[in-house]
Subunit: 214 residues, 2 copies
């Protein structure tokens, strides 16, 4: 499978899923600014017109977009990894958490905070509207190791999103000690430590590239 990704973007969650499965994938880097595919200079928007990562090309050439869809596809493709769920209410809970992380946290809180083009009014609006979502998580995670009863792709996604707090100073993770402990515990998980370390190097190279081009 081919995974189009940008360093430390939400596509990191799918890389974690592959590492959990011990599975091989072609990781194809996309510059988030220029939408250029680094390996050949082609336009990523020809693969996904939205220009968004992750984008997955399956072994039979099908292109799949959107994080919640890709994470479940990869999780289901490698059942031995145990990062998906069974059917029924267990799967509904996975849907619930992927949707919560994608809508309330990723799009509702972090995208505006991470966007350099967003003026201060945008950031204060979004903090006022959605910062309480972290209180909800804090409360939910009390006494739990994972979002579901085992490590799943929902955790891979949540860890990815929470890792962005390094770059969003108004969100001080220390204010949510249970969430912080969850993050630090999962951050040390081999698949996650490896994925973040690798993408951090690529992220530094991306910053240097943008600086040189400026």
């Amino acid at each position: 499978m081919d995974l189009y990704f940008s360093p430390l973007a939400c596509s990191l969650a799918t890389r974690i899923a592959f590492y959990e499965a011990g599975a091989k994938a072609n990781f194809i880097e996309v510059d988030p600014k220029t939408k250029e595919v680094l390996r050949d200079g082609s336009d990523f928007r020809k693969v996904n017109p939205l220009g968004l990562v992750p984008t997955l090309r399956t072994d039979d050439g099908t292109v799949l977009t959107e994080n919640a869809a890709i994470l479940q596809y990869v999780a289901d493709h490698f059942p031995d990894a145990g990062i998906a769920t069974g059917p029924g209410m267990e799967r509904s809970r996975l849907h619930q958490w992927l949707c919560f992380i994608g809508t309330e946290l990723h799009k509702g809180l972090f995208v505006p905070l991470l966007d350099k083009k967003a003026v201060p009014d945008v950031k204060s609006w979004v903090l006022n509207k959605n910062l309480s979502r972290l209180d909800y998580l804090e409360d939910y995670l009390k006494g739990r190791d994972y979002l579901l009863d085992h490590f799943s792709v929902a955790d891979a996604y949540l860890v990815t999103v929470i890792s962005w707090t390094m770059a969003t100073p108004p969100v001080e993770l220390a204010r949510w000690p249970v969430l912080k402990a969850y993050y630090e515990r999962l951050r040390a998980r081999p698949s996650i430590a490896k994925a973040i370390a690798e993408e951090f190097e690529l992220y530094k190279a991306e910053l240097a590239r943008h600086k040189a081009a400026a």
Copy 2:
């Protein structure tokens, strides 16, 4: 099943799903401002701490939140209605569309535009960032009747979100003629026409209640 809803909110999509299935549900109205359950004055946040509709209580009393999870639960619960999909790539496409609508359109475009507390800078930021998502939809819908190869809960959700353009003047639906035709065609579908007509009456009552309380 109990469906907590607010008139013309995204919970409308689940009402449409119930009507498609010809299934009974208890529709329990929540005031979106006060978070009060209208029938008994109780605090909806005791059911869902996020205070968000839709929230579903299944027949065995399980509370499920988040639109993508609830829509799939209801669709799978009434297989004869044909508004879900089979497994495999078909289901992945359903995930993809539910995720796209929830993140890019609902949270990414319409929530900021509909929010009376969002200052003009927020609205222009979001239009600049995400209005192009409608171009993507316009292009995708050319020559198609539905998002998938049959009417599904993804269409119920998309119609709901597009119906909000009535209240978001910067988004002139006429600019996307294929999307507009899709919307008008689905708007005439009996389940959707009935759901919108009923909730429109409740919405007017909600506005009158808010006016009286001001």
